[in-house]
Amino acid sequence: MAEIYKKETQLKDYSKDVLLDFYRTMVKIRKFDEHLIRLMQEGKVSGFYHSGIGSEGLSAGSIRNVLRDEDYIYYNHRGCNQKIAKGVPLSKIYGDFLGTTEGTTRGLGAGIVHSADPSRGVLGQAGTIGSQLGIGIGTAYASKFKGTDQVTVIYFGDGAASREMLHGSLNWAGLYNLPVIYICENNEYAISCHVSETHAVKEHIADWAYGYGISNCVVDGNDVLLMHEATKEAVERAKRGEGPTFIEAQTFRHRGHFEGDPYDYVDGELLKDWKENKDPIRNFVSRMLLDKIAEKQELKTIDQEVEQEILEAIEKAESAPQPEAGRIYEGLFA
């Protein structure tokens, strides 16, 4: 059934720019998240937030340097990882959380979901996890119909994979040979339930794709380069007209499902191992230092630049006004 995606990646096969771009993106994702949590703690952001810390490699690797603005993504509800990697301006994402007019929704507000940036192929997201499985294949169908080489990447969690829609989606994708890439962000948990408590699989979630004749694999989602290679192959396959790919990317949440989740259903030792030994950023830094791609100081500079960028984004988002009450009567119809 599903094979483990294996490939010896060498840093030297990538330009320094590309490697630093992966690094910068991952840092941006993490810092975005940390600052958002701070804003929540300060009472400035309401609602739920599902931190994406720990899974930055998955998004950076599968989007940066492989997807173009015109390629579509349907992001997952964990963090803002994919939106950030796809280049949605940070101030706009913060603006959605803060409910100011800087947000992509011009003040209507959005949490993780409902931010959109069509100019960067981000067509939004549903509040019902997994709905993107159906919507995304329509988008891929439209590209195929129009004859472009755009690909659509659908992100979703292991939990979302259990939604009935997966079947309808895989069937369409396989049947119409759509340029779509499924990236199942398998962090082993759906809120409190371990995947083994809710999923009947031969061995892996990706096995579900096999019966449809859809290419599939399981990849270490915390290895940004491996994730990149697996996605690149899938993108090329799609562009060659060879249809869909299902990638199960393994990762883990550093934080609970939502802010405030006691997260006591996960063994402390295990979590520690993920944080200390499998952190996508930390491991990538070690590799870069080992291979002498960059000096510590250079990375630190990037960190500072990103921090600065984020603070400016927050400043911009926060200083924009809240919308007028009448905002809710705008935009129902075109």
């Binding site: 579509y72 959109a116 159906g134 294949i137 169908y141 119909f145 129009k146 705008e330 119809f333 075109a334």
Partner: protein, 325 residues
């Protein structure tokens, strides 16, 4: 003027709009080479090739895919659900995605989808192939609801629906497919939100939709013979709803009967009645009456079906009762 049936009228609209805009896509179960189980898409596949395609039996996926196509701006999907009852299966996709996607993403995308839904009691099809679920969607922001009663209206409204850049639910009563009516050769469009007075009258306003417009007209004939002049108002679209036309009729007659095939409780008549009394309470000479099908699932037994579909007799009786005030 030439006379054609509603099926032909709908097919003409589909043909003309597919001709007009090359991004118009028709899909659904058996809509391709088979031409649809109601033959409304007959011949389109032969003419437009891959712009008309059969899908797997998976209603949520059909609607979700339409949403995903529409928001790219590269396609104008006109999907069909084989039976309108199946709107229940794809309910979240219709109610929450088609209806709300644009709004909830700040108005950044358009939703040019026309979802066709054949509805109604039509000869022993039973509880899950006979329903009229249109009223449910009045509670769903972002959805336009079209429900034509004549070939003329059907064609003009379907053309408007397909060109519209917002979501449209297009309900077709199955018993109307074979019903004939005048339809001009020349192109025309019918705007949404314009009720049509199918018969003028000064005594009682009967608001009816789809097949019930015809039942109401029959009842009106009979009542006219007894001297009661019924005005039959066909809203044609339940969203937007033309309250202006409805209210001006009500103000004239002071007596209102609403007739629809969907079950009475929570049907479109509830909302229409609530709005009428809110706007024109003191013009009412009598309580607003509603006739809908009984609040029980639709029996398969064709003999029992008659006790669901509102009848001419029921309308006549209700109108006569209204006249007693």
């Amino acid at each position: 003027m030439r006379t054609i049936n509603m099926r032909t009228a709908l097919l003409e609209a589909l043909n003309e709009e597919m001709e007009r805009d090359e991004t118009t896509l028709v899909f659904g179960e058996d809509v391709g080479k088979f031409g649809g189980i109601n033959k409304v898409t007959e011949g389109l596949y032969e003419k437009y090739g891959n712009r008309v395609f059969d899908t797997p039996i998976a209603e949520p996926t059909i609607v979700a895919a339409a949403v995903g196509m529409a928001i790219t701006g590269n396609a104008r999907p006109v999907p069909e659900l084989q039976f309108g009852d199946f709107a229940g299966i794809a309910f979240d996709e219709i109610f929450n995605k088609m209806g709300k996607w644009r709004f909830m993403h700040g108005g950044q995308m358009e939703m040019p989808i026309t979802l066709r839904l054949p509805v109604g009691i039509a000869g022993g099809a039973g509880p899950e192939h006979s329903q009229s679920p249109q009223a449910l969607f009045m509670h769903g922001p972002g959805l336009q609801i079209v429900i034509p009663s004549t070939p003329y209206d059907a064609k003009g409204l379907l053309k408007t629906a397909i060109r519209d850049n917002n979501a449209v639910l297009f309900f077709e009563h199955k018993l109307l497919y074979d019903m004939k009516g005048e339809v001009p050769e020349e192109e025309y469009l019918i705007p949404f939100g314009k009720a049509d007075i199918k018969r003028e009258g000064s005594d009682v306003t009967v608001i009816a939709t789809a097949l019930q417009v015809h039942t109401a007209l029959e009842a009106a004939e009979e009542l006219a013979a007894d001297g009661t002049e019924v005005e039959v108002v066909d809203p044609r679209t339940l969203a937007p709803l033309d309250m202006e036309t409805i209210l001006s009729s009500v103000r004239k007659t002071g007596r209102v009967l609403i007739v629809h095939e969907e079950s009475k409780t929570g049907g479109s008549g509830a909302e229409i009645a609530a709005q009428i009394q809110e706007e024109a309470l003191f013009d009412l000479a009598a309580p607003i009456r509603r006739i809908g099908s009984p609040d029980v699932p639709i029996a398969q037994n064709i003999y029992l079906e008659q006790f669901y579909r509102p009848s001419k007799e029921q309308i006549v009786q209700a109108v006569n009762e209204l006249m007693e005030y």
